[in-house]
Amino acid sequence: MSKQAQHWEKTRGLLFVTLAIWFVFSIGIFLFGAEMEASSIRPFGYPLSYYMTCQGSLGIFVILIFWFAGRQEKIDEEFGFSEREDD
């Protein structure tokens, strides 16, 4: 397999992981709104459903993007596809 094909395969793998995490926190947990509300897990004392909609999921998305960017940079470096500074 060519270097480029390998690079793309790893990139795709990272995409699936990223989208899976994204799916859980943007769609998955909101299938269980009522259960979250009744849950005894109460971050900072807020009902879990309320907390996830106003801070939880939002904060996770921020972290997720930075994590994704870091991993993708590693993949690019591994295959020598990083940009040169002067590009």
Binding site: Q4, H7, W8, T11, L14, L15, T18, L19, W22, F25, S26, I27, F30, L31, F32, G33, A34, M36, E37, R42, F44, G45, Y46, P47, S49, Y50, T53, C54, Q55, S57, L58, G59, F61, V62, L64, I65, F66, F68, A69, Q72, E73, D76, F79, G80, F81, S82, E83, R84, D87
Partner: protein, 606 residues
């Protein structure tokens, strides 16, 4: 100041600017103590900030194509994040969002999740690849990737429909704020707002818009956070509201039960007296009050719409590298998060201020005549944003007898909570910044698509630089005027049309953009069918629902993008597979887009 190593000096320049703005706020506070009237303070805030933006716009003027379309591709990661956040957070986010949360609670907060989760899609599916492509506009990508003027034209059509729906709402918002702050009639204020918007973008295109948007972000975030922190501390609710309002949320639920929320329904005759656009509290503050599907379908539409709206995507074309584009998405979302996570806190503080009889500001349970004598009630009643009426004739204000406009949550809460007027002036300046920055991004997205993709690429490919930029500027002014003219008619509310814009963009552009990078087999015929078919299906569903068709699967006029995008996806796959595969050169182009190194597909000048 804007010459030489301007880019290296950015932290210093914007640091000075932020310091200067804070000094200005302090000066205004002193002037207020010295007896300056509320009206003059409001005028000073809006006029001063707008003049600064205009100055930045003037200093960033340019006669180069890549500076006009791409800000010279040298906007550093963090600053591009701030500019994107301002570009993104519209008058709706700033003025209407906290109000929506206040009235509709959990069901409405699907928008918070959708408008942030979409950035994960932007970062992972699109932004870095489109940056590598090197396009000037989103249709530029579609036109080059799929080949052919028809694909390019279809993309321009979808872009124009979505962005124009959005921009009228923004110009409307600038008009509303300018008319209140400067005390002029709305249909004149709309054009004052328009003039301010054009001053920021006309001379310098993307370059000028970038540097004004950074300045506007700084103003809007200061204007949003100061009241939230101040009110929270003043009320004794907590030093850091975001982590400390759990008791207040619980207290609201307690009061809702005490005041019998939902027990008493207002009769239709009573509701007729309430001025249009005002609503009462009818939904519980923090309870799950909607079905999972309703929540998720709205969130999904907003997420896919985020990834398809051209004025956001084009911000990532301005970064120095692919790597920077990726990180810049993270910074954008961080800066957006600062405001979005504060909106529910503001809604909580605002509601508790009004409801809690233990607080001096609480009005529920007081006598009607007492409430009607309060200064701020009279002001906001006059502005048509507040209303009380003694429906049951017991002389006391009940929860179901108090009505407020959504905008009042942001605009009036500082005054209700007893903050000095200088804060209200600051909030007006923040709202103006939010609406202007988004309007600028949108007007530029439309006029760039028309000038670059329609005029230069399709009508007159031999046009010289000077002529191209002249056409671009003329179109900018024309689009702005068209938007202002429609805004002056006041057809639709701010928030409704914003949500429609997301659904339009999602219907026509989401899959053609994503598959352009992720599916090599996608071809021009498929993309054209996907764009036009998706847009047509979505629009048809919207019109049908608006004219009484009950719809299916609980898809409403706010989520019609689901219909559009599914049709778009199916058409794109079926038509692509039924027609010839893209040629080798196109396949090679897609391969090149997928790796960050190497030259951009489209050069700096094209």
């Amino acid at each position: 100041m804007f010459k030489g190593n301007f880019i290296n000096n950015l932290p210093k320049i914007y640091g000075t600017y932020t310091g200067g703005f804070i000094v200005f706020i302090i000066l205004m506070a002193i002037a207020e103590q010295a007896g300056m009237s509320a009206k003059v303070i409001g005028i000073c805030f809006v006029a001063f900030t707008v003049l600064i933006y205009a100055l930045i716009g003037y200093l960033s003027r340019t006669i180069q194509v890549d500076a006009y379309y791409l800000a010279g591709r040298q906007v550093p990661t963090v600053f591009n994040g701030m500019a994107t956040a301002a570009d993104w957070m519209s008058g709706a986010s700033f003025v209407a969002m906290a109000g929506g949360i206040y009235f509709k609670g959990y069901g409405y907060m699907a928008l918070l999740v959708g408008w942030t989760g979409g950035y994960v899609l932007v970062a992972s599916l699109l932004a870095p690849y489109l940056r590598k492509f090197g396009c000037y506009t989103v249709p530029d990508f579609i036109g080059t990737r799929y080949g052919g003027n028809l694909a390019r034209l279809s993309a321009v059509i979808v872009l124009t429909v979505a962005s124009f729906t959005y921009v009228t709402a923004q110009i409307n918002a600038t008009g509303t704020i300018a008319s209140v702050a400067l005390d002029i009639p709305f249909n004149i204020a709309v054009y004052v707002g328009l003039a301010s918007i054009l001053m920021c973008s006309m001379l310098g295109g993307m370059r000028a818009v970038t540097w004004t948007q950074v300045a506007q972000y700084i103003v809007l975030i200061i204007a949003y956070l100061i009241p939230v922190f101040w009110i929270s501390n003043k009320m004794g609710a907590g030093v850091f509201p975001h982590l400390m309002l759990a008791d207040e949320v619980a207290r609201i639920a307690e009061l809702e039960a005490q005041f019998g929320l939902g027990d008493v329904k207002n009769s239709a005759a009573d509701l007729k007296q309430v001025p249009k656009g005002l609503s009462g509290i009818t939904k519980a503050h923090a309870e799950v009050n909607t079905t999972p599907w309703k929540f998720i379908s709205l969130a999904v539409c907003m997420m896919a719409g985020t990834a398809s709206l051209p004025h956001v995507m084009m911000r990532y074309f301005t970064t120095p590298s692919v790597k920077a584009a990726r990180r810049s998405v993270g910074w954008s979302l961080f800066f957006i998060f600062l405001l979005y996570s504060s909106a529910p806190m503001l809604a909580t503080l605002s509601k508790l201020s009004l409801m809690d009889p233990n607080l001096a500001t609480g009005i529920i349970g007081k006598s009607i005549s007492e409430v009607q004598a309060i200064d701020w009630y009279q002001n906001w009643n006059q502005a048509n944003l507040m209303f009380v009426s003694d429906f049951n004739g017991n002389g006391t204000l009940e929860l179901n007898e108090f009505f407020m406009g959504g905008k009042a949550v942001v605009l009036a809460t500082p005054e209700i909570a007893g903050l000095p007027y200088v804060i209200s002036g600051l909030v007006a300046a923040g709202g103006m910044a939010a609406a202007m920055s988004t309007a600028d991004g949108l007007v530029l997205a439309i006029s760039n698509a028309l000038s670059h993709d329609i005029y230069y690429k399709m009508i007159n490919p031999k046009a010289e630089t000077a002529k191209r930029l002249l056409i671009a500027r003329i179109l900018l002014v024309l689009i702005g005027f068209a938007g202002a003219t429609i805004a002056a008619l006041e057809i639709q509310g701010i928030l409704g049309s914003v949500i429609w814009a997301f659904d339009f963009a999602m219907s026509g552009l989401f899959f053609p953009l994503v598959l352009g990078v992720w599916w090599k087999r996608a071809n021009a015929q498929g993309a054209v069918a996907g764009m036009l078919g998706g847009l047509a299906a979505g629009t048809a569903y919207l019109i049908a629902v608006r004219s009484g068709y009950p719809g299916f699967l609980d898809i409403t006029q706010l989520t019609f993008g689901i219909v559009g995008s599914v049709v778009s996806l199916v058409l794109m796959i079926v038509v692509s597979l039924a027609t010839k595969a893209p040629d080798a050169a196109t396949q090679k182009m897609v391969d090149d887009v997928r790796v960050p190194s190497g030259k951009a597909i489209l050069g700096r000048q094209h």
